[in-house]
Amino acid sequence: MARLPYIEPEDADPVTKQVYDDAEARFEMVLNIFKITGNAPEIAEKMWQVYFDILQDGQVSWVDKELLILKSTKIGDCLYCVTQHEVVAGRLGVTPEKQADIVGVEYRHSDHFTPAEVAILDLCAHMVVDPEDIPTEVWAAVKEHYDDGQIVELVATVGAYLQVSKFGDALGVQLEEVWHGHEPVLFGAEPPVSAASRHHLDEFLAQAPSA
């Protein structure tokens, strides 16, 4: 059960309606995580703008950002985010085989990743675990492929998805019925570390596929 009510589009004020329209353009529907923020439209408006900037080609390609989104939300054991972004990444051409190799350090040895992609996934893993102690060689590899403006965007993407993982999970935001029956790719390759997250995954897998 979500901890706060979802504000449906028909009950939303104009600020929230605009947020829902922008969200629908990226996800093809208004997801529950957007609906819960209708409880404070003035916060939703500013918070989601960062995500709308992420979820499009910018100084960095949307595909590069989806790899970081999958990596950071997988480390955060966020079933909701990982599931949504397996679908989005798939639409952008990231195959399930490539997605599965994002877990752990598989990507370093996988044929599916370029050296630039390996460099940013390494940065992501270090940023999540210990942002105070990112090795010089990790930065050097990233800087070989990305300029300063791009690095800002990559780091903002990882930070934002650590945020939204914790935000959605703390508020108990549930996966929409349309995803019931979705075969988990990343959590199929490596189960969640958190016992609570494993419980959420078991509950999700027990749902009947959506018609």
Partner: protein, 182 residues
């Protein structure tokens, strides 16, 4: 030293962001200048920070305690000192700031039940957000309405985000506000 360039003199595409930041903070903080090489994110992240660092559904003074507790709990210290100064300027006391430490807040006479419920939420979100149970949510609901709880959840997780992001980029803001806030 920051990992990326600090854009002291704004280019045309971030001039307006620098102006808005200067109006809100009294000067352009370093975090804005580090974002300056990416105008889209400079705009959206600065806007989010400005929206949160003022009175909202939750009073600004208490939001500063939430920020301090979240930075401590998540082990990131970007602008910690600046937020301590802000909390004091907004009327918070040294006792309340000191008692945020570790689990002192649980026994401290300086906090209300509603405030303690928020600190419990912060610790659980940092530890494992998948496991925020009824024991955390029931006391929260007694003290705060839906809009306030949404604002608090957004604030806590934004601080987790920005603490990590700015520590990664190596940016420091020992002072955030140079205009009077009280």
């Amino acid at each position: 030293m920051p990992a990326t360039m600090v854009l002291d003199a704004p280019t045309a595409d971030v001039e307006e962001v620098y102006r808005d930041a200067s109006e809100h903070f009294g000067h352009v903080p370093n975090f804005v200048k580090v974002l300056g090489t990416n105008p889209a994110f400079c705009r959206s992240i600065t806007d989010l920070v400005i929206r949160l660092l003022q009175d909202g559904r939750v009073p600004w003074a208490f939001k500063e305690l939430v920020i301090l507790k979240t930075l401590r709990a998540s082990g990131t210290y970007y602008s910690y000192g600046a937020h301590e100064q802000l909390a004091i300027s907004l009327g918070e006391t040294a006792d309340r700031i000191g008692d945020l430490n570790n689990s002192l807040w649980r026994e401290s006479p300086h906090f209300t039940t509603a405030e303690r419920a928020v600190f419990a939420l912060i610790e659980q979100i940092v530890e494992d957000a998948n496991d925020v149970g009824d024991d955390i949510w029931e006391p929260l609901r007694d003290g705060w309405d839906h809009g306030q709880l949404l604002e608090l959840s957004a604030l806590i997780t934004t601080v987790i985000n920005l603490g990590r992001m700015f520590d990664t980029l190596g940016v420091s803001d020992p002072v955030l506000f140079t205009r009077p806030v009280s």
